[in-house]
C-alpha cells in the first residue's frame, strides 16, 4: 500500500513539474489533469470518496476541457 501511494505521489510531483515547464500548452493541461486524477485516487485512499468524485469530475474532466477550449481560441505554443 505504502509503495503504491509513494509511487502515485512521485507521479503527481512529476506531473506538476511537467505542467509548469512544458512549452506545448495542451501537454501542460494534460499533465495538470493527471495531477488532479492522481489527487482523486489519493483522496479515495484517504477514505474521502465524496471529495474524490468531485475532484475527478471537475479537476480532471471539466477544467481540462475548459483550458483546451481556451487554448484553441488562442495560441498553442508558449513563447
Amino acid at each position: 500500500m505504502i509503495f503504491i501511494v509513494s509511487f502515485l505521489v512521485v507521479l503527481m510531483l512529476v506531473g506538476a513539474v511537467a505542467a509548469s515547464i512544458f512549452r506545448d500548452l495542451i501537454s501542460a493541461v494534460i499533465a495538470a489533469a493527471m495531477v488532479s486524477l492522481i489527487a482523486s485516487i489519493l483522496f479515495y485512499f484517504l477514505q474521502a470518496p465524496d471529495v474524490a468524485m468531485a475532484e475527478a469530475a471537475i479537476g480532471a474532466a471539466l477544467t481540462a476541457a475548459i483550458f483546451i477550449i481556451a487554448i484553441r481560441r488562442t495560441k498553442r505554443y508558449e513563447e
Partner: protein, 226 residues
Amino acid sequence: MRRIVSILLLIIVALGISLSLAKIPFGAPKTKVGRHYIDEGIRETGAANIVTSVVVNYRGFDTLGEVTVLFIAAIGLGAVLTASGGEKKRKTEPASLVLYTGCRLLFPLILVFGTYIFIHGHLTPGGGFQGGAIIASGFLLIYLGCRERRISRTASNLAESLGGLTFVVIGLLGLVFGGYFLLNFLPKGTANTLFSAGIIPIIYVAIGFKVGSELASIIDNLIEES
C-alpha cells in the same frame, strides 16, 4: 558569499517551520463538534452519509452560498462571452461514425449514473455537486462528439432556476414551520432507506439539477463562442 548566506537563511527558515509544525498534533481531535457529528449525525438528520448530513443539514447555509458563487460565475462568464462577440455559426466537420455512435451510447448511461449519485447522496458517497459535475461531463461528451446536437437554452435555464428556487423555498419553509432557515421539517424516516432524512434528498436533487445545468451551460457558452 551571498549564496552561502541565502542557503543558511533557507535552512533556518525550514528548521523554524518544521519545528513549529512538529508541535501540532495532526489528526488529533481538537474540537468536540466533529465527534458530535459522527456520534449523533444519523440520529439527528437521518442521513446515513455523514458528509451529506454536514453539507446539507448542519452547514446548509454555507452550501447555499457555494451554489450562489457558482451561479454568479456562470452568469459572469455568459455575460462576458455574449458581450464580446455575436452569434456566429461555424461549419464543423462531422465526427466519425465510431465517435458519434459511442457518444450517443454513452450519454444516457452517464446521465443515469449522475442522477443516481445525486439521488442517493444521503446514502452513498457523492451528492448534488458530484452528480451535477458528472452530468455536465456527459454534456461535454455530446458537444465534442455530436456537434449538431444542442441542449435547448430554455430547458437548461429552467432547470437551473428551478433548482435554486427549490433550495431557497425549502429553506424558507423551515423558517415558517420551525423558526429557523433550512430547518429539517420533514419526517426523518428510517436511516439507510431512499425516502429518509427529510429535506436532504430534495435539496440534493435541486443542487444536482442546478450544478449540472450551470456547468453544461458554461461549456455550451465556451464552445459556442470559440
